[in-house]
Amino acid sequence: MSSAQSIETRSDLESLARVWALSGPLRGKVAAGIAYKFLQSACLGIAFGAVIWSVSRLAEGEALTSSEIWQVAGVMVLSLVGQCLFGFLSVSSSWVASYETAGRLRLTILDHLANLPMRFHLSRHQGDTVTALTADMETLANFMSDALPRIAQAFGLPVIVLVYLFWQDWRVGLVALGSVAVALPVFLWSSRRLARLGIRRQDMQAHAGARMIEYAQGIAVIRAFNRLAKGEESYRSALKDFRDISVKMVIDLTAPLVLFGMVLMLGVPVVLAISGSRHIGGESDIGNLVSCLVIVFALYAPLLSLIGVMELTRIADASLTRIDRIITARPLPAPALPRTPDGFEVAFKNVSFSYEPGKPVLRDVSFSVPERSITAIVGASGSGKSTLLNLVARFWDVDDGMIQIGGSDIREIAPEDLNSHVTMVFQSVYLFAGTIRDNIALGRTGASNEQIERAARAAQAHDFITRLPDGYDTEIGEGGSTLSGGERQRLSIARAILKDAPIVLLDEATAAIDPTNERAIQQAFSELVRNKTLIVVAHKLSTVRNADQILVLGDGGILERGHHESLVDAGGLYASLWERWTSAADWRIGA
């Protein structure tokens, strides 16, 4: 992970370029925001101009007339009005541009996510995607509204001041520029160092964090086994590691940043010495001296704020990286000339597949499931049972070989068409916020209330639904948490029954639930699969006794195949599984 991250680390300039690219159609507004900020600085420059003009006039011994004072006051007011106006315009453009960019990017990414294969969604933490769309996007917006204009501001006044200094006395200008020229490499060096160390600290933090979380999550076990001392020890060392790396980082980082500030500000004594001595040497007049010295602080102070920008860039860069990981993911290739399946037979032809290169899950697997027959898949955990179902639904694409439905390679069937042929019931149930009716209706667009109720009855759900205070209009909370596991499962089956797709993929849940719910779910399943082509990953062997075909999976392939009786007679792996399944019923605890 750390190596991948360091590859993705950008320099500050590259991050800026990426932000620019992402702002797309809103670039005009972003640029306007920066330009206005620059003009705001220029207006501030006018005020300094007035200061220099009047102070050097006075220094040269010329008194100002009252009309001149009024003029100065007028210029100052003008400068203030200009600053306010351009400040307002700048903030308006850059804030609105950043919010709109974030909104537009969110919509683009949401759309993109829907087109990405399930492979993408299932192979990463869902939380990472949520973070990218919410917090990371917020960071990006803040960077655009805050950091970009600040860079303009940091350089705006100094550029004007430098030009002025060169015009006044090129030697002083050169000296003043000198400290900036020395400080900038220090800045770039510490910026890169900060980025590199930042990644290392993030890794360390993630690692130590994981151990701290483990302690917090495992505290029940730690206490149940009276191992507080041991638990605390690992926690303690995680904390210590984290503190130590943090201390090292501070020492590593404080030095270059303080150095940058110091080198920059050294310009002040140098300019003071040079312009002072040139004045004594008669090479510059008093007005010259006054203007150089009054303005010298305006040169360096804004540049100091670049330190803050560096920090913001680093934070934004981490967010950009996470956002880019989504943007650059590729959707499944869609067929150029979609084919229509002829019938509902499912066939695996020499299918090989692996989630990770070098770790094959399925090797050269072939079998066929005739229309309206039942195929049960059994085998040890990790043998690839659920993988078979995921491949049929095209959550992943096969590495080798092909899967056909009705004689057509599923990769050549239009995705909507494939979807309408296949329904899948997952191990874990997911219900959406909304009413029970909405959740069942998800199965078919425009389903009537009668159809929904019929599906619910078939799924053994109608009775418990009508017992709820609002019946079918009962709102279910986030994740449907007010219902029991068995009830949620039955709603998800009702949804699948309503969809009425000819091919059913069923992944039986392994977790035990109470017998009454269990029985209802079995009945619901029986309704769902009536007259369908069914592929079921079975954990309760009793349910698949009557299957037309049982496939025993193991070692990446099909170890045994046949129907129940023939497999039991064959005396192989299935026979021993069956033996254990039936003998479990006779088992006596501790007897």
């Binding site: 904390l239 943090s246 102070a301 068995g486």
Partner: protein
């Protein structure tokens, strides 16, 4: 680590610290974070003081170059400028820059060290405190909360200790010093220099309050967008299978658009006044110059004094702006600190620390009632689980089985009645001894990162390799362990081997076997097993029970049918009890559950296939 950044705060950033609390009834404690971390500064208080002094010194040093420039200009205007004077003043400025830089470096370094130490102590204390809380406290929390309380919130305190305290104090002293100095030189000019500062702060507060009614709407839009995105992603497989990406996307897109709209409107409300603040607050020079020129022309102000005000007054608001930003982050961080403080204030579980001699290990519940909140979930539960016997708890989901089991090792304390072991109230037994006496196998198996052997040995740290292996064999885990790449040394955890639910449960059982405790409680310990594993686990549990008191919570009724005593629970009450055969003939809840159970084990997907059975392929 964060380096302070002064920014044009957006209304969301500025209001973020105050708006969320408008919903809650209690007034927010803006200084909660200071209060929390103060107690953990401990011996570092001296170093903290040093950091503050150094930071103040650094700010004072910032004034030296200003003074030097002023002094040179003063002399030049008077025409008394000499080489030596320029040299001395340049040196003074140089010293200011160098000493200031070094002081700042040391101040930051010190304050960070103090921060890391204090946070370290705080985290240790959190860990120690968590260990003393009733275990039930954790079962009600999501694991994300642990992360927030142990990592994220304490981490934010770094900003306060490492930056807030030293920079806040130095900004405050800088502001005071400059104010006094300005007034000492010329009170009229001082007023001219500073009057725009309060005016601009009034503008800012007006802008904030004028747009604050949007805060609630903004929070809601944000919450709606987040929830919508979470749901959109979590439901992705379902949405795809049911071809509903369009509808699902539409709702989420609306939430995103709405959020952008609210955000933009808020900004538009806030910008005219709030945006002007950042310009005005730094525009002191605009007022200093014309007024100063006027006084000069009337002869009541010298040119050097004017220059002094131009140099020093121009940045008058800077320290206040810094202070404002520090306060802002303080208020923001304090929200989270309150959560940590609440955790630390949670009363620890009472512990007598006594060792007692149990005459036997019979477990008795005597009129036990219990509720997680005000509402009781157990009502007057009484039973006796005898040593050497198996007591099974069965019943529909939510009937209180697991709750009963969790009261024995005091994961919770009873509301009324009592739980005894060998006649001794579990509350009178020291927690250490109680934990040694009870082995509890949880429904959700938690394994630690580390090797398989480490995890089993967790049951008894001094167990030999042979004992670990024997426990694994008894738990029917040995076979799958030796099939793994590194056998017992296979690492588990984030980057380690992935185990199935059944395999994890067998490791947990091996752990419990190795512990060799006289009381064993299995809370749906086979719930995730597939048939192959389940049979193996049942054999393993059989090996566990001899001579011990065993309490089993289970849904798969055949696993508990042979128990010496079956307790049937419904809605928090014990409704039936007895042996399997007696309960079956009783025709009550258990009999109905048994029928359902055997039925569900008989159901097949199709009674007779329409297409006939396939011949095995070659």
């Amino acid at each position: 680590m964060t380096l302070t950044a002064e920014a044009d705060g957006s209304p969301q950033q500025i209001a973020g610290s105050t708006s969320t609390e408008q919903d809650s009834q209690t007034a927010p404690d803006y200084f909660a974070s200071l209060g929390l971390i103060w107690g953990y500064l401990g011996a570092s208080k001296f170093r903290m003081g040093a950091a503050i002094v150094l930071a103040t010194l650094a700010t004072a040093c910032e004034l030296l170059p200003v003074w030097a420039v002023y002094a040179v200009l003063d002399a030049a205007v008077a025409g008394t400028l000499t080489w030596g004077f320029v040299g001395a003043q340049s040196l003074l400025a140089l010293v200011g820059v160098v000493v200031g830089g070094i002081a700042l470096g040391f101040a930051l370094g010190l304050s960070h060290l103090v921060a890391f130490d204090a946070i370290h102590r705080l985290r240790l204390d959190i860990a120690r405190h968590m260990a003393k809380l009733p275990l039930g406290y954790f079962s009600r929390r999501r694991s994300g909360d642990a992360r927030k309380l142990v990592i994220d919130e304490p981490e934010k305190l770094e900003l306060i200790v490492a930056h807030g305290l030293p920079e806040g104090v130095s900004a405050l002293s800088m502001w005071l010093a400059v104010s006094v100095w300005l007034f000492a030189v010329d009170w009229r000019m001082a007023l001219a220099a500073i009057f725009v500062t309060p005016v601009s702060f009034i503008l800012l507060f007006t802008a904030m309050s004028r747009s604050s009614h949007r805060a609630a709407e903004y929070q809601q839009a944000g919450a709606r967008m987040n929830a919508s995105i979470v749901e959109y992603l979590a439901g992705m497989p379902v949405v795809k299978v049911f071809n509903r990406t369009g509808e699902s996307l539409a709702e989420t897109s609306n939430a995103v658009r709405d959020y952008t709209r609210v955000e933009t409107e808020w900004a538009r409300d806030y910008i005219p006044l709030g945006g002007s603040f950042y310009t005005l607050v730094l525009s002191n020079v605009v007022f200093i110059l014309p007024i100063g020129l006027w006084f000069v022309s009337t002869g009541s102000l010298s040119l050097p004094a004017l220059i002094f005000f131009v140099l020093l007054g121009a940045n008058y608001s800077q320290p206040l702006l810094k202070l404002f930003n520090q306060f802002h982050s303080l208020a923001h961080i304090s929200m989270g600190s309150t959560l940590v403080a609440d955790l630390l204030a949670e009363p620890p579980q009472t512990d007598t620390d006594q060792r007692v001699a149990f005459p036997n290990h019979d477990i008795a519940f005597e009129g036990v009632s219990f509720g997680y909140t005000d509402q009781d979930v157990l009502h007057d539960v009484s039973f006796l689980a005898k040593t050497g016997e198996i007591t099974a708890l069965v019943g529909p989901s939510g009937s209180g089985k697991s709750t009963v089991a969790s009261l024995v090792p005091r994961f919770w304390d009873v509301g009324s009645g009592r739980v005894t072991i060998g006649g001794i109230n579990v509350r009178d037994v020291g927690l250490d001894q109680l934990m040694d006496t009870v082995a509890f196998v949880f429904q959700d198996t938690f394994l630690f990162s580390g090797t398989i052997a480490d995890n089993i040995r967790f049951g008894r740290p001094d167990a030999s390799d042979a004992e670990v292996e024997a426990a694994a064999k008894a738990a029917r885990a040995h076979d799958f362990i030796i099939r793994m790449d590194k056998s017992y040394e296979t690492p588990l955890g984030e980057h380690g081997a992935a185990l199935s639910g059944g395999e994890r449960q067998r490791l947990a059982i091996a752990r419990a076997i190795l512990k060799d405790a006289p009381i064993i409680i299995l809370d749906e310990a086979t719930a995730f097993a597939d048939p192959d594993n389940e049979a193996a686990i049942q054999e393993a549990i059989g090996a566990l029970t001899r001579g011990r008191t065993l309490i089993v919570v289970a849904h798969r009724l055949h696993t508990i049918a042979p128990a010496h005593q079956i307790l049937v629970m419904k809605d928090g009450r014990l409704v039936e009890r007895g042996r399997h055969d007696d309960l079956l003939s009783g025709d009550g809840l258990y009999a109905r559950m048994w029928t359902d159970y055997t039925e569900s084990r008989r159901v097949t997907y199709r009674e007779a296939s329409d297409v006939g059975q396939l011949e095995p392929s070659p």
